[in-house]
Symmetry: C2
């Protein structure tokens, strides 16, 4: 951490590996001796195709993506996938949706435009403080797929198991992709907005069982057709080249650090520091229930809005920034994605202890 850098606990866009930022700065005016920025070169050039292929190959290696699955690098964010998924996979029929937070609710609402979104579970009555158990999921017989959001950034809950369903699994992994080992072969479709664990905002990674492509509704915009994007190598039009470049640099960092296994170990280390302290604090209370707690977004509060505000302000003065919770929930949220050093979490816990001593 440079002297003038802070520990940034923002939920997304969020902290990135410093090595990626430094390389991007150094190469800004002359990428690999081309005399151009990576932003200035044609997406059809061999130079850029090399960046694109490199990012895809690293993702395939790191996540052990089987050959049955295509990797697409797209624009539009998760909100675009909320529509693209039912347009491509629902065939005007039905699909199961587990609602465990803000974004899965939005996904289900959008799917209702294109077919029947059957609600398999809804944790809203408990304030989305837990993940439903397998036996609590209501699965419909005619579902074209089962949809869930692996990690709920707003509420700080995370699925600690992969559901077993007869229909293909479709999973929004925007906020925990690459933080844990996942058996991709179990999924029909995985997607993730890049701006938490992978790259700057403006890029969406879709990993798709190729057997599911080609079923889109006639009204599907060509740009949202998975089949078209597979056929064009994600380049029906100009892709978000800079974001793909930053993805490649970030994946370089993940590989150097020891791959997904190392990320998995670190997420345990970071989360344990925070939850262990929270479970013993007399001032701060965690929101999510044990067994459903997120390793990526730790939500907590004091119970007093005034104290919460004082804590957030004081933390910022100590270089611990963006700890304010989502406007839906209030309170605090520490987002601790892959690029957050363990030292950042230690510094946060140290300040929490200091604040508790002064305000208990």
């Amino acid at each position: 951490m440079l002297n003038d850098r802070v520990y940034n606990f923002a939920a997304g866009p969020s902290t990135m590996p410093e090595s990626a930022l430094k390389t991007a700065a150094a190469e800004m005016l002359n990428f690999r001796g081309s005399g151009m920025s990576v932003m200035e070169i044609s997406h059809r050039s061999a130079l850029f195709q090399d960046v694109f292929d490199s990012a895809c190959e690293k993702l395939r290696t790191l996540m052990r993506v089987p050959e049955s699955h295509a990797i697409l690098l797209l624009q539009g964010g998760a909100t675009t996938q909320f529509a693209a998924i039912p347009m491509n996979l629902m065939e005007g029929g039905a699909a199961d949706y587990a609602i465990t937070g803000n974004f899965s609710a939005k996904a289900a609402e959008e799917a209702g435009k294109y077919g029947t979104a059957h609600i398999s579970a809804n944790t809203k009555p408990g304030g989305h403080d837990k993940i439903p158990a397998q036996e609590e999921l209501s699965l419909s017989e005619d579902a074209k797929y089962f949809y869930y959001c692996a990690n709920n950034t707003v509420y700080g809950t995370e699925w600690q198991y992969v559901p077993e369903t007869a229909s293909p699994l479709v999973c929004d992994m925007s906020s925990d992709i690459l933080s844990r080992e996942v058996d991709v072969s179990k999924f029909g479709l995985i997607y993730a907005g890049a701006q938490k664990n992978m790259a700057p905002a403006g890029l969406t990674v879709v990993i798709l069982d190729k057997a599911l492509a080609g079923r889109e509704l006639p009204c599907t915009p060509k740009i949202l057709s998975y089949k078209t994007m597979i056929e064009t190598g994600s380049m029906l039009n100009t892709p978000p080249c800079w974001c793909i470049y930053m993805l490649d640099l970030t994946l370089d960092w993940v590989m150097r650090e020891g791959g997904v296994r190392a990320m998995d170990e670190r997420r345990h280390e970071r989360a344990a520091l925070l939850y262990d302290y929270l479970d013993n604090s007399r001032l701060f209370k965690p929101h999510a229930l044990p067994g459903s707690r997120s390793f990526m977004n730790v939500t907590f509060r004091t119970g007093s809005d005034a104290l919460d505000a004082a804590f957030i302000r004081g933390a910022a003065e100590h270089g611990l920034v963006n700890l304010k919770g989502h406007k839906i929930t209030g309170g605090m949220r520490a987002s601790i994605y892959n690029a957050m050093p363990v030292e950042g979490v230690k510094a946060l816990v140290a300040y929490m202890k200091e604040f508790e001593r002064e305000n208990a």
Copy 2:
């Protein structure tokens, strides 16, 4: 131009102002004293909102966008607008499309999914070497809008007049926005992929008469609804923050250089250098007819594929890169957008003369 930089004639992504690149590199690890990169800060933060608002205000000032029109900063490129425009404006009815090149043809094809795309003109029989005159446009009575592409990058033609139509004008200005003065009040909708005159790929600017919003078909994805995007200030979800930041830096440069008027003067200067030489060359032949010629993309060839290839290779050895024409047309194409210095065009013409002497 730095010693190790080249003159980059790529059609898009394309050359950017060096001042913007230098600022981006300098601020990479610590944006405005925040201790974070602009890629790491929340899109909901005051710091980022300031960048966003600044870019929109500069666009409004530079293009004199009236208050009747909203400025949206979106993802997805022109290809996404090919669908979004008919989904939002066609109401399942009809619209007029003038086909003057590759991208207007694609737009008309996509529109056919959502209603009737009436072809008002089609210059394909002549190899898209000209723009139709006003009196050649076949306008239908029930058209919800008239669609055209102001500048055709592949063929090197450009509309030198604004069509007069009863229905609202919808214009793809991807490759000539900010290069000439335009009366925005005449248009229902202007849009532009950013990667030629504005910012890196991954950002699309839409300038829309607000009175046209709110007519979308029921199957329109929420992310493609202009009404929703106006209501959410282009932030239904996380916008492409880096691209918006680079847009702001590029608009800084446009303003410092003298605004759109200065860009307009320079486009004349650059294009005149090339076309004057081409019209007098005994080796190189321009593709587009006088009166329809693009100020942004100058297309030409020698008539011999082998000589074309030798020219492109030799130019690259002189630091004049990406002069190969689009794969549809072959030949050469010099893209000379706002950020291309006049000196770059002079260097190109000097090399063309040298090549002609050696090969005539």
